[in-house]
Amino acid sequence: MDAELLDHLTAGEAMHAGIVTCDVHAPLSAVARMMAGHHIHCVVVRNDAASWSETPGAGLWGVVSDLDLVRLVAADGVIGRTAGESAATPALTVRDRDSLREAAGVMSDNEITHLVVVNHAARPIGVLSTLDVARAVAELADGSPVVSAGRTGREER
């Protein structure tokens, strides 16, 4: 594979558009339901008290991953805890125009599997996962698209 190809694909091209969000005060049990119901590994935590339009990016509070959730389970449980207390803040983001190599570097340096992708106005527009990078690596190496198993087949895990 031409190593430079990862420099020419952007985070915006490889990401999954759309984010699943919850309020900072949402109970963690609700976050667990969102993850299980949508088959997703991270939920973006909003701070509804901050206005997107007045301060770009101010409403993006943080991110809760399923590993964050599991760490709490292993420690003292999730009952009574909120998304805001458990989120990694600030959320690690990449711009939609950033290259996939840059995004891979951020994941690698921080040992995280999901990044929030923001647009020029610092508004979150999608999530880029390590699996999206794996897909790009495969497609660039072989020059053919990857056809994924349907959601009714093997679940994401």
Binding site: R33, A36, H41, V73, A74, T113, V137, A141
Partner: protein, 143 residues
């Protein structure tokens, strides 16, 4: 209601493991992950003489991204990038124990191995634990 203390790993895991050969190119492992929508692949090495136990490790999508971030993935193999020994658990353990092991090793997946033979029989993920917290281990929009 089932809780993480009363649900076993065997009940919540995904049965079966997706495997690849130790010499398989990493780009091919990437394709398998994307096609199957899985975050880890078990790397097998059969014993040369048929004697002794097989050896195995695990490659995660984060392992792959770490390679891709720095260099050309082209020349790399699954075996050269696998973590071994891989964090593992047996089916009779509770989900709480699985959560503890994930937190301890900072990994999102554990390989579930047969209690007696220690052969991989499945994978349990952080998402499986999250699902169990909802009280419905098999909750899925597809069902």
């Amino acid at each position: 209601m089932k809780t993480i203390d009363t649900t076993t790993v065997g009940e919540a895991m995904h049965e079966g493991v997706v495997t690849c050969d130790v010499d398989e190119p990493l780009t091919s492992v990437a394709r398998t992950m994307a096609q199957q929508r899985i975050h880890c692949v078990v790397v097998w090495q059969e014993p040369a003489t048929g004697a002794g136990p097989e050896l195995w490790g695990v490659v995660s999508d984060l392992d792959l991204v770490k390679v891709a971030a720095g260099e050309d993935v082209g020349g790399r193999t699954a075996g050269g990038s696998a973590r071994t020994p891989a964090p593992m658990i047996t089916p009779d353990e509770t989900l709480r124990r699985a959560a503890q092991l994930m937190a301890e090793h900072e990994v999102a997946h554990l390989v579930v191995v047969d209690t007696e033979t220690t052969t991989p029989v499945g994978v349990i993920s952080t998402l499986d634990v999250a699902r169990a917290l909802t009280g419905n281990p098999r909750l899925s929009p597809a069902l």
